[in-house]
Each structure stands twice: as structure tokens, then as C-alpha cells.
């Protein structure tokens, strides 16, 4: 059930369930051009629906889609966390990849990537290897691009206006950051 192929025709779904990419496309809602797999629950992710409120710690070993409210901490090690358009997360977040389409108040640490969509509202400090930001997103906080041993060996791509921010620009820098000026 969870691993059915994308080309399978969509099954009739109750209106209360989270819209799929097909629904969004039909409504004319632009989707990200990022070439990643779908982030809706039907793609194999666990889901917290928009009427659900969770207070406490969440630890997931699979992709997690949040369209409800979370107040606490969220840890999705080695997997992706998606905050849906109705999602409201007041928590520190740790995941491999984070996609934000709703509201997040809290720091985010994503080892691989943070993707902030245009409808997102994000307040907190971000630490990641790559970050993608759509025009129109609201963000208040800091952005730290992490350098990893793997990334140090990659060739530094030429920085452009449209490419994601990554650690490549740090390749020529000394491996240890000098202490902040005092």
C-alpha cells in the first residue's frame, strides 16, 4: 500500500485528507521545481493531520509529514520532515532534510538540506549543508551552512543567483574557522 508506484491511478480520497500533488496542480498551486520525491504522506511518510495537536517529543525513523500542530521537539534522523501548509511547529527540529510550507518557530538542523517554500513562515536559526529558498517566504533568524568532510572534497560550483546555497564556497577557506572578533 505504502510502496505503490506513482503511475497507479489515485484512489478516491476523503476530502479531509491532505491534498496530493495532483490536487495541488489541479488547483493551480505552484509546486517546487526541486527534483525530489513527493513530500505528501502518500509517498510513504508518516503523517500528522491538520486537526492533530502533539505536545512533547517526536522521534521518527521514517519520513514525517506534519500538517497539524507540534509543540516540543522533532527528531527525524536520516529522513525527511515536511511541514505542510497547515502545519504549525513550535519545536527544535533535527532531520536529514526539512521542507517547510507552513509555520515553524524553532531552530532547524538538517544535515542535508532545508527547503523553504514561498508560503512558509519560519523563525529560528538554521544549520544545514544546503538551503533552498523560494521568493516570498518569511524568515527571521540565522543561516549557517555546514561544511562536512564529504563536501570538502567536492568541486566548488560557481555561485549563481538561482542555485542553492551550499558549503562549496567554503572549500578554499581554512578548515577551522577563526574565532569571532571580540
Amino acid at each position: 500500500m505504502w510502496n505503490r508506484k506513482r503511475e497507479d491511478p489515485p484512489l478516491p480520497r476523503p476530502s479531509s485528507m491532505t491534498p496530493t500533488a495532483t490536487d495541488l496542480a489541479r488547483e493551480g498551486i505552484p509546486m517546487s521545481t526541486t527534483p525530489t520525491r513527493l513530500s505528501e504522506p502518500g509517498d510513504g511518510a508518516a503523517a500528522i493531520g491538520k486537526s492533530v495537536v502533539v505536545k512533547g517529543q517526536i522521534y521518527s525513523r521514517e519520513d514525517l509529514y506534519v500538517d497539524g500542530e507540534i509543540d516540543g521537539t522533532v527528531e527525524v534522523q536520516e529522513h525527511r520532515l515536511t511541514v505542510g501548509p497547515n502545519g504549525k511547529v513550535t519545536a527544535s527540529v533535527e532531520a536529514r532534510e526539512v521542507i517547510v510550507r507552513g509555520t515553524v518557530h524553532g531552530d532547524i538542523h538538517a544535515g542535508e538540506k532545508i527547503d523553504i517554500r514561498k508560503e512558509a513562515k519560519l523563525v529560528g536559526d538554521l544549520k544545514t549543508s544546503r538551503i533552498v529558498i523560494e521568493e516570498g517566504a518569511y524568515f527571521k533568524g540565522s543561516v549557517d551552512i555546514l561544511r562536512t568532510d564529504v563536501n570538502r572534497t567536492e568541486a566548488a560550483p560557481k555561485p549563481t543567483a538561482s542555485s542553492a546555497a551550499g558549503p562549496a564556497g567554503n572549500q578554499a577557506r581554512p578548515s577551522a574557522r577563526p574565532p569571532a572578533k571580540t
Partner: protein
């Protein structure tokens, strides 16, 4: 006595930074129509930006403040230099904090204003190594402007540079508000967003007085209607 007069009396400070002040108490003229495509997307060569970049490129690990809205190009540029970027989206936060019915330039109540400053610029003393202000200051009421400049002085390290733009059009009721995207070390892409009513319009002397507690103020000649200023803490 109008509401504007009462507010000015309540928060009045010595000194006059402005050349002219739009007649906010009169019925405001509607904003001009949206510009055509040629004027809504501009490429601007910026000596001020070049100067700012030169001040931060010799080291890595610096903390740079951007008062504009978050954008991919600006994040790319600053983080590819090895720095941390703090993004505040100052004017958008101001609009949300002011709420409907508030006077132009931000919340009028002192407590609200202090709260806004604390939330937007809540950094430690001498924490920041540089700040990209763009044209944000031109839309702040005088009390909020002074509070903002004072806070910037507190949170910037000695020697840190601040890049600010001031529109040169005098007695303008509406000014084009742009998004400023760093395209290269000396080039900006400006995208028109909307029109905003300026609260203050500054001349060079007024800008110098505004930043009189800073070490230096340097003006850059431009061919367009934006005055570029580098202020050194």
C-alpha cells in the same frame, strides 16, 4: 491638534534629520500605478556594495545582518564567503507589528516600539560584523528611526560596516520599494515590490547627523535616485 501632531509632541527629539516630511495628515494621494517591466526589474551597479563586500571578505565566520527579506541570492553570497547570515525582514515585521490604524512608520506606543526593536534586533552587544540595511530606514517614524540606529550602534562591532540606501527624491508621497538581491560583488538586482510612503526624506547632512555616533559616513555617487551610504561603526 491632529493625531500626527500629538505623536510628534509625545516623542519629539531635538534635531531635524529631514529635508521634507510628507503631509501625512492630509488625505494621501493614491500610489502611482505599478511600473512597467523595464522599471520593475533593475540591475544596479553599486559601489557601496563593493565597499561593504571588501570589508567582510578577508575573514570567514563573520555575522552579517540583512534587514531585507530572505532571498536565495543573498544567502548564497554571504554564506559562500563563509559567513553566517542573520535575516530579519524588517519592514515586513514592522507592518505586522504596527497593525491596521497605526501611524506610518511603525507602532506609536513606546512599549510596542521597544518590543519591536527587541524582537527584530535582539542581538548582543557588538555581536555583528556588518549590516545590510538597504532602504529600510526611510520608512520609520522618527522615534523608531532613532531607536533603530541606536540599537544598530550597540550590536555592531567597532569597525563594522553598514550599507544603507536613501532615496533622493524630495517631497515624494510614494517611493518604490524594492527587493535587493546581490548578484555579484558590485551588482544588485532590484525587483519592485510595491510603493511605500516615506516618513523621512534625508539629505547628506541629515544622514550624517543621524549617524553622528558612528565613526564615519561615506557617500557614493550614483546615477539613479538611490543615495548609497557606508557607515562605519
Amino acid at each position: 491638534m491632529s493625531i500626527g501632531d500629538r505623536l510628534r509632541e509625545l516623542f519629539s527629539k531635538s534635531g531635524d534629520f529631514s529635508v521634507s516630511r510628507p503631509a501625512a495628515e492630509k488625505s494621501p494621494a493614491p500610489p502611482p500605478p505599478a511600473p512597467g517591466k523595464d522599471e520593475s526589474e533593475l540591475v544596479k551597479r553599486s559601489h557601496g556594495l563593493s565597499h561593504f563586500v571588501n570589508s567582510i571578505r578577508e575573514e570567514s565566520g563573520l555575522s552579517i545582518l540583512d534587514l531585507g527579506e530572505i532571498s536565495q541570492p543573498n544567502v548564497n553570497f554571504v554564506t559562500n564567503l563563509g559567513h553566517r547570515l542573520y535575516s530579519v525582514d524588517f519592514l515586513r515585521t514592522l507592518d505586522a507589528a504596527a497593525g491596521p490604524g497605526s501611524p506610518a512608520g511603525g507602532p506609536a506606543q513606546r512599549t510596542l516600539m521597544d518590543s519591536f526593536i527587541e524582537q527584530s534586533l535582539g542581538f548582543g552587544p557588538e555581536e555583528l560584523d556588518g549590516a545590510l540595511i538597504w532602504d529600510s530606514l526611510q520608512y520609520l517614524s522618527r522615534p523608531l528611526l532613532i531607536a533603530t540606529v541606536n540599537r544598530l550602534h550597540e550590536i555592531l562591532k567597532p569597525g563594522a560596516c553598514l550599507l544603507a540606501f536613501f532615496h533622493t527624491t524630495e517631497r515624494a508621497e510614494w517611493l518604490p520599494a524594492y527587493s535587493y538581491r546581490i548578484a555579484s560583488t558590485q551588482t544588485l538586482n532590484l525587483t519592485w515590490k510595491n510603493y511605500r510612503r516615506p516618513v523621512e526624506v534625508f539629505n547628506n547632512r541629515g544622514i550624517e547627523r543621524l549617524f553622528e555616533q558612528f565613526e564615519s559616513v561615506k557617500f557614493f555617487l550614483t546615477r539613479d535616485k538611490l543615495r548609497e551610504v557606508i557607515i562605519r561603526r
